[in-house]
């Protein structure tokens, strides 16, 4: 084979020869090719990701480990990360999504944490297409079948529909877990003389070279890539979780790494590289599922449900005993050395001998970037586009459309309650789970704003980040940290690389200014097909901490007689809003630029409101604008509202504009003074009252609550 088949460019191959001072043999070439692939090396984005703020008062482990970990108090760490499984899900929706869930769970396990909460960001195409229906059904069933069986609750998520995902759906799997701080595991603590132990499934031919597959565009021949998609076994994973947690609890593991992309190769070389060691791997000792597998197939296999453990030799017997208890395969497959070499033996034959650094210290590429040629067109919006002639029917359309309606048809297929710690589950902006054996709670929000990132990647990404923070703050939580998944088309296009760069800048800016460090993340590039590119889709998940879970402020709890308040500006922007996209069939115009001072003022007051219990229900104004936020509150509270707020410019701007730090609150009559005192110094006004069975907007419309409910629940 030549270097091109291994996925290397001519320049990269020249660099390889220079580093080795010789030609690599075929196995070596394949190993290097995979480790230098976009998927494993992040070569296009490493320099961008370094610009994320990484420090914060809660951060224990930032980027560079299997997952970030933050300190949530009383001896507990919270590990979390989001990761894409886009390409596999596009060709084999059920298995692609299922193994995405399994993979991110092992990342959390690799930190020593018990995986305790999942969320899924799903981006599907036009729901009228048979392909979308097929993909969505398979993906949702795949997530459910794996997550339900492995016993990790799905506590929330995000589902977004746009024709740009017709051929290339996105599946971003998030997982989080709690770990005792003294039991945290690491991939950086191997030392010479330790043994490399492979625990879990036997190695087969499934998912071979999946990393290379994920490092290029999906083509018409992508269905032929099906053998590169892995097959999941949640039963095996459940046993693997329990076994690893037992081993960690007994201090039997020196270091560990899950096996994801590039399987044994990446896990063993990463442990050696990060620990500053070398490693000898015995290919003939690896338990195989199939006969006659070649060494390169064994090294690149992405068979699921395997962990690489680094074990001190005197603890080996105890490790094997635990594996027998759980009926898991377990084998010593290598030795950690001080050679800083990555050596592969087949019997006594040395078949690969590379410096560990060539696998760990991978190259970087900076692609040319230039603003899209139609950037001006995307950013401009003719204001006459959108006059709302019938505000009530526009509101119903926004609630009933794919992006507006209830996603219970999806999340009821997921177990959201197993493990008995879900305080607030799916179907609301903020999920909350209890920190084990404490009164504390972690709050999670997942956000993405593809429309806004399409028309202005910087402001769109900043708004995405701010939105996820507002949800956390409104719930009463301090931001602990954020993880992100950057879903983009090919970075080799200057326009795409420009959008990617701008989105990273926007996220970094918002994180820096609003005090939320980035602790982990993942990049998925080449999300495009011959029929087009996806919109820039940076997805963020922000975690927050509430010290007393009784202070958690949820939504859908409005009661008759409550005063309804709006905090923040009366209007945002119609640019790249759901309303605008519905009217024009594509996103156009600019969103609101991030006002950091206003965001911080909102943050302080929102947290105070929750902790003082000055409101009984609250909701951030997000997709669909103020009218949709109020309608959602009415529907989820099963109570009507009467709103009295006059348009400043137009009805549609008042009702449907988006962006900026804005929220609605339901305040019991005896708390209005407390509430107004807290919000003193920030725009706030009483806009109505909850009660009765109709949603009435004085001077604009009157809708029976039942009409809103059928729009939301049945989508019509």
């Amino acid at each position: 084979m030549d270097f091109k088949e291994a996925g290397l460019t001519e320049a990269e191959y020249a660099r390889v020869k220079e580093l080795l001072n010789r030609e690599p043999n075929e196995l070596e070439l394949r190993l290097i090719g995979v480790m230098w692939s976009e998927h494993c090396s992040y070569k296009s984005t490493k320099q961008l990701l370094r610009t994320f703020p990484s420090k914060g008062r809660y951060v224990l482990q930032g980027q560079g480990e299997n997952a970030g970990v933050v300190d949530v108090g009383e001896g507990w760490g919270f590990a979390f990360k989001v990761e894409s499984h886009n390409h596999p899900s596009a060709v084999a929706p059920f298995q692609g999504a299922a193994t995405g869930v399994g993979g991110i769970i092992r990342d959390i396990l690799a930190m020593g944490a018990r995986p305790c909460a999942s969320m899924d960001g799903l981006f599907f195409g036009d729901t009228k297409l048979a392909r979308t229906q097929h993909l969505a059904k398979g993906i949702v069933e795949g997530i459910g079948s794996y997550g339900n069986a492995v016993g990790v609750p799905v506590v929330g998520g995000k589902t977004f529909y746009s024709a740009c995902y017709n051929e290339n759906p996105l599946v971003n799997a998030f997982n989080a877990g709690f770990v005792r701080l003294d039991k945290m595991a690491s991939s950086q603590t191997a030392k010479a003389g330790d043994l490399a132990v492979l625990l879990g499934s036997k190695t087969g031919r499934d998912g071979i070279a999946g990393a290379s597959f994920a490092s290029r565009e999906l083509g018409e021949d992508s269905n032929a890539s099906r053998p590169q998609v892995q097959i999941g076994d949640p039963f095996e994973e459940k046993l693997l979780i329990e076994c690893c947690l037992d081993l960690l609890d007994s201090d039997l593991i020196a270091s560990m790494q899950d096996m994801g992309a590039a399987g044994i190769l990446s896990s063993s070389s990463e442990i050696a590289y990060k620990s500053g060691c070398g490693i000898d791997v015995m290919v003939h000792k690896i338990p195989l599922r199939e006969q006659d597998m070649l060494p390169w197939e064994i090294f690149l296999s992405e068979s699921q449900e395997r962990m690489l453990l680094i074990v001190e030799s005197e603890k080996l017997d105890a490790v094997f005993a635990a594996a027998r208890h759980y009926e898991l395969d377990c084998a010593v497959v290598g030795t950690v050395t001080d050679s800083r070499r990555y050596r592969v033996y087949d019997g006594n034959n040395l078949i690969a001998d590379l410096p560990v650094s060539i696998l760990g210290d991978t190259p970087e590429i900076s692609w040319p970037a230039s603003a899209p040629s139609d950037a001006g067109e995307r950013a401009s919006l003719d204001i006459s586009f959108s006059a709302s002639e019938d505000a009530a029917s526009d509101l119903i359309s926004l609630i009933a459309c794919d992006n507006g309606r209830s996603k219970h048809g999806i999340w009821e297929q997921y177990d959201s309650m197993v493990q008995l710690h879900t305080i607030a589950g799916p179907g609301r902006p903020a999920a909350a789970i209890e920190v084990p054996q404490t009164k504390r709670a972690c709050v999670l929000s997942m956000e993405a704003e593809p429309y806004k990132c399409r028309t202005d990647p910087f402001a769109g990404a900043a708004e995405t980040m701010a939105m996820s923070l507002r949800v956390i703050w409104l719930a009463g939580a301090d931001a602990l940290g954020m993880t992100n998944c950057l879903n983009f088309a090919s970075p080799e296009s200057p326009e795409v690389f420009y959008e990617l760069t701008q989105c990273v800048k926007g996220l970094a800016f918002a994180c820096e200014e609003l005090g939320c460090p980035v602790v982990s993340g993942n990049v998925s590039l080449y999300n495009e097909t011959t029929s087009g590119r996806i919109f820039p889709t940076p997805l963020v998940v922000t975690a927050g901490l509430i010290e007393d879970r009784d202070h958690f402020l949820s939504c859908g709890r409005s009661k008759a007689g409550c005063a309804v308040y709006l905090t923040g500006a009366t209007e945002g922007s119609l640019g790249a809003s759901r309303y605008q996209a519905m009217k024009c069939a594509k996103p156009l115009g600019l969103t609101v630029a991030l006002d950091c001072e206003a965001e911080r003022a909102f943050r302080d007051r929102a947290i105070k409101t929750a902790r003082a219990r000055a409101a009984i229900s609250g909701r951030v104004v997000s997709g669909g604008g103020l009218a949709v936020a109020l309608a959602a509150e009415a529907i989820s509270s099963d109570i009507g509202m009467k709103i009295d707020l006059k348009p400043k410019t137009s009805a549609e701007a008042l009702l449907f504009s988006e962006g900026g730090a804005r929220a609605i609150y339901s305040v019991p009559p005896d708390k209005t003074k407390d509430f107004e005192d807290i919000w003193d110094g920030f725009p706030h006004m009483r806009i109505g009252t909850a009660g009765n069975a109709a949603f009435v907007w004085d001077g604009l419309f009157e809708l029976p609550l039942e009409r809103l409910k059928s729009a939301f629940i049945e989508g019509r």
Binding site: A149, G151, D415, D550
Partner: protein
């Protein structure tokens, strides 16, 4: 009351049941791995928890029904001891022949997790004597195979013998029956007991309706107290 929870490979509600019982009744709970031949203590109540024992491969509950510990579970039941199977535990009990019938895939062919209302049909057994007949309680469900099935003749025998303990119901009207079964269960059957009333299987999860600050409600608390009352005086471990 002394409780043992059996842990099969793939059980995933074992720790939840332990917590629900130990926090409600302030007792320790023994966790017994499926390969044991007997219990370490002398339990009054044996719980087969929810989850995906053996990955639900072959058929839900089929392989767990052959686990070594099941011999002792059966002897415990034969001695008149209490055995409670929740969700996958119910499936194990039917596969083991300790309760009649079978749990088939939901009529929607989808997994369903949501709040669920059931009506208490009988209180003359070891589990619900502390509840009220026709009382409606909310225990969440989470399953893919929950359609209770029995051929017509056996089904009427089951009904006549008074073995139907819980039936899916409408909380507003108080009516119960198949039309309220989210999974299509025949006669709306959510839970049944053995003729002696000492073995109970149900699809809904009372342990998920136990911890007040979580999202599943608290109707399970009375259920645990109801069982404990039967064994009052036996003490904890």
């Amino acid at each position: 009351m002394r409780t043992a929870v059996v842990v099969f490979p793939g059980s995933n509600c074992d720790r939840d049941v332990r917590r629900a019982i130990s926090e409600t009744l302030k007792t320790a709970v023994e966790m017994t791995w499926h390969s044991e031949a007997s219990f370490a203590t002398d339990p009054d109540l044996v719980v087969l928890p929810g989850g995906f024992s053996y990955g639900d491969y072959l058929r839900s509950g089929a392989m767990a029904a052959c686990s070594p510990i099941m011999g002792e579970v059966r002897r415990h039941a034969d001695r008149g001891g209490a055995v409670l199977g929740i969700c996958n535990g119910f499936q194990v009990l039917t596969e083991a022949g300790m309760l009649p019938g079978a749990l088939l895939p939901n009529i929607s062919l989808s997994f369903i997790c949501r709040e669920c209302y059931v009506r208490v049909e009988r209180t003359d057994n070891m589990f619900t004597s502390g509840l009220k007949t026709k009382e409606i309680v909310q225990f969440p469900i989470a399953h893919h195979e929950g359609l209770y099935f029995l051929p017509p003749k056996e089904l009427s025998e089951l009904e006549e013998a008074g073995q139907v303990v819980f039936r899916y119901a409408d909380p507003k009207s108080g009516e119960a029956g198949e039309q309220y079964a989210p999974n299509g269960a025949l006669n709306g059957i959510a839970g049944i007991c053995s003729k002696r009333g000492n073995v109970l299987g149900l699809m809904p999860h009372p342990e998920r309706a136990t911890i007040a600050h979580l999202n599943g409600g608290t109707d399970g608390v009375a259920f645990w107290h109801s069982i404990a009352k039967v064994f009052a005086g036996r003490g904890a471990f």
